[in-house]
């Protein structure tokens, strides 16, 4: 029982990371109807942005690991990733907007391969030790909890889950209550009508990429707090899992992406803990295929009819 609860906690903290990355997939799909294959690699860029800026930013706040310093690193990585996302969209995806979606998908695969191999070229293929920006340690649970006191909850896990909730709430506010958010929603409903109503399509798409990439960057930092070893290929697996999460929750649907992320994270932890880790990836993909076959719109998505 304790072991099961522990696996749930493990899965939840991993799922939060997936959820943050999945949001980027879902938002871009919402406005552009295409899968940004390079999104997982933006997450990797986020981790490396933190790796290179952390020593300078931490010295601003006294040198050692601190919450203030960590927040600075987080913001810096989010800003850099937002810029990267906007630049990639501007250079590689925007010129292709009138082309069939599959052309853009191939271009996105190209961008993804470029970031991975360019990362190996510029950052080195060896894993790097991510600087300690927050001292991660286990939280002592009160002995009065009985056998539950033997559960392990780390500060890193709490920070990941807490930050994810905050970022989700912020995103929801932006999408629901700002003019840009309204434009985003309009664009995802009907791009032509939206542009006729005076929505600046280019600006809104850039904004969407900025937000989605910033969230991936945040995920990169939050992962590195818990797992301080980063490498240029770290985005491949996380990106694929997050994509599955986005589809599972209903692609284009923001709460769906968060739910999907958590489900995939917990599912993985249970498969690894109780069955066999070698079946983890095949099983995640099997879930994806089953969802697409029986409920292609995902758990929270609305069914969309193909129009002639």
């Amino acid at each position: 029982m304790i072991e099961f609860l522990q696996q749930l906690i493990n899965g939840l903290s991993q799922g939060a990371i997936y959820a943050l990355i999945a949001l980027g997939y879902t938002m871009v799909f919402g406005v552009l109807r295409f899968i940004n294959f390079a999104h997982g690699d933006i997450y990797m860029l986020g981790a490396f942005a933190g790796f290179y800026t952390a020593p300078k930013l931490l010295s601003l706040t006294g040198g050692g690991p601190s919450y203030g310093g960590a927040a600075l690193v987080l913001v810096a990585a989010m800003a850099l990733c937002a810029a990267a996302g906007v630049i990639i969209e501007r250079l590689c995806y925007r010129p292709l907007r009138a082309q069939p979606r599959l052309t853009v998908l191939i271009a996105a695969i190209g961008v993804s391969l470029f970031l991975e191999n360019g990362g190996q070229f510029f950052f080195g293929a060896d894993p790097q030790a991510f600087p300690e920006i927050i001292a991660d340690s286990a939280i002592e649970l009160p002995a009065s909890w009985g056998e539950f006191a033997s559960l392990t909850l780390t500060i890193g896990q709490l920070i990941v889950i807490g930050s994810t909730i905050v970022l989700l709430a912020a995103l929801r506010t932006i999408v629901k209550y700002t003019r840009t958010g309204m434009a985003m929603r309009a664009l995802s409903l009907n791009p032509l009508a939206a542009s006729l109503m005076g929505v600046n399509t280019d600006a809104v798409i850039s904004f969407t990429f900025a937000i989605g990439s910033a969230l991936a960057g945040a995920a990169g930092i939050l992962t590195s707090i818990q797992q301080p070893s980063i490498d240029p290929l770290m985005g491949i697996n996380a990106g694929l899992k997050a994509f599955v999460a986005a589809v599972l929750g209903g692609i284009g649907n923001i709460p769906g992406a968060a739910l999907g992320g958590v489900i995939i994270g917990v599912l993985e932890a249970l498969v690894v803990g109780y069955i066999n880790p070698t079946y983890r990836d095949p099983l995640v993909f099997a879930v994806l295929i089953l969802v697409l076959l029986f409920k292609p719109s995902g758990l929270l998505g609305k069914a969309e009819r193909e129009k002639v």
Binding site: P100, L102, L105, A107, F114, G118, Q120, T278, D281
Partner: protein, 324 residues
């Protein structure tokens, strides 16, 4: 294409004649030559699925894996049941090639079924998922060498068998899509809903394209396994699938000649890039970058999409997608 059958026979006779002269070829060039043949089969078969029928697949390497592993397993298990003479083991090899193709076709049937409900990006991701599952199953299958890879196959694949299959594949696909029956493939691609309204059984065509495409990819896998004599699950990963897709796109979707040419170019180009480091007159950073062929490859992919999305040799946009 007046007498395609005669052309096919001539092509196969030419392969047989040419194979008498391959003995003296430098083994490195021979390796490239066979790899070109295998890549042509892969590209042409994916072209049927993606180029002619419009079903986007990112999992072609998975079918190749099924063919490679099942044919290798067959020759390793039954290689000598007919005796140890060359005709006997060669016979088993040919049966294994065919069997590998059939196994892959069965996998193609499995993947073809979701294609009834999905299209575009979704289908791409599902095919990618399927090939990852196939890889995962092999990695867990002890009789197939699991994570260590499978070796010990006899090198049966030679110039003749490779290019005979190339000729058969090209002939088969061309006659199929140019027949009255086969125009259904193009109809599915051009406008699925209209095709359905015209009474074309789109389901049948889509599944058929996947099954035939997978069969050929499986045979290509068998040829590969009995040429390299060692196969490993990682050899059939996502990157391999992307390679094949790029051949089809570079060649121009639905242009068999273009796709063949693209397969030749994309097999030779990376080998050519190996020699770039010898050109000492090039500035160091340029050589460093060329050494890293994957960076060049990804840049090429992006630039190609930006400048000529219809492929180098194609005339039309490869899929007239819905205007979203």
């Amino acid at each position: 294409m007046k007498k395609p059958k005669t052309l096919l026979l001539i092509a196969i006779a030419l392969c047989a004649a040419a194979s008498f002269f391959t003995g003296g070829i430098n083994p490195y060039y021979y390796d490239i030559l066979i790899t070109i043949g295998i890549n042509i089969i892969l590209a042409v078969s994916l072209n049927l699925v993606t180029g002619y029928t419009g079903q986007f697949s990112l999992g072609h390497a998975g079918f190749m894996a099924v063919g490679a592993y099942s044919s290798a397993w067959m020759t390793l298990t039954f290689g000598f049941v007919l005796g140890t003479s060359l005709p006997a083991t060669g016979g088993v090899y040919l049966i294994a090639l065919f069997g590998g193709g059939l196994a892959a076709a069965a996998a193609g049937l499995l993947v073809g079924v979701p294609s009834l409900r999905l299209r575009g990006d979704y289908l791409a991701i599902v095919t990618l998922g399927f090939s990852e599952i196939i890889k995962g199953v092999i990695q867990n299958a002890e009789p197939l060498g699991a994570q260590r890879g499978l070796g010990g196959m006899v090198q049966h694949t030679n110039f003749f068998w490779t290019y005979a299959v190339v000729a058969l594949a090209i002939y088969g696909i061309l006659t199929l899509v140019h027949s009255t029956y086969g125009s259904g493939f193009l109809a599915v691609r051009d406008d699925e809903i209209a095709a359905e309204a015209m009474g074309i059984n789109t389901t049948k065509y889509k599944v058929l394209a996947f099954v035939i495409g997978a069969f050929l990819a499986g045979v290509a896998g068998g040829l590969y396994a009995h040429f390299k004599q060692f196969i490993h699950p990682e050899g059939f990963n996502f990157l391999k699938s992307v390679d094949i897709v790029v051949m089809v796109i570079l060649g121009g979707m639905g242009s068999t000649a273009g796709v063949c040419l693209a397969a030749v170019i994309l097999t030779i180009l990376p080998e050519f890039l190996r020699t770039v480091s010898d050109y000492t007159w090039l500035p160091g950073p340029v050589r460093d970058l060329a050494e890293n062929r994957m960076i060049l490859y990804s840049l090429l992919l992006i630039i190609l999409m930006l400048t000529r999305p219809q492929g180098l040799f194609g005339k039309m946009a490869f899929i007239r997608g819905k205007k979203s």
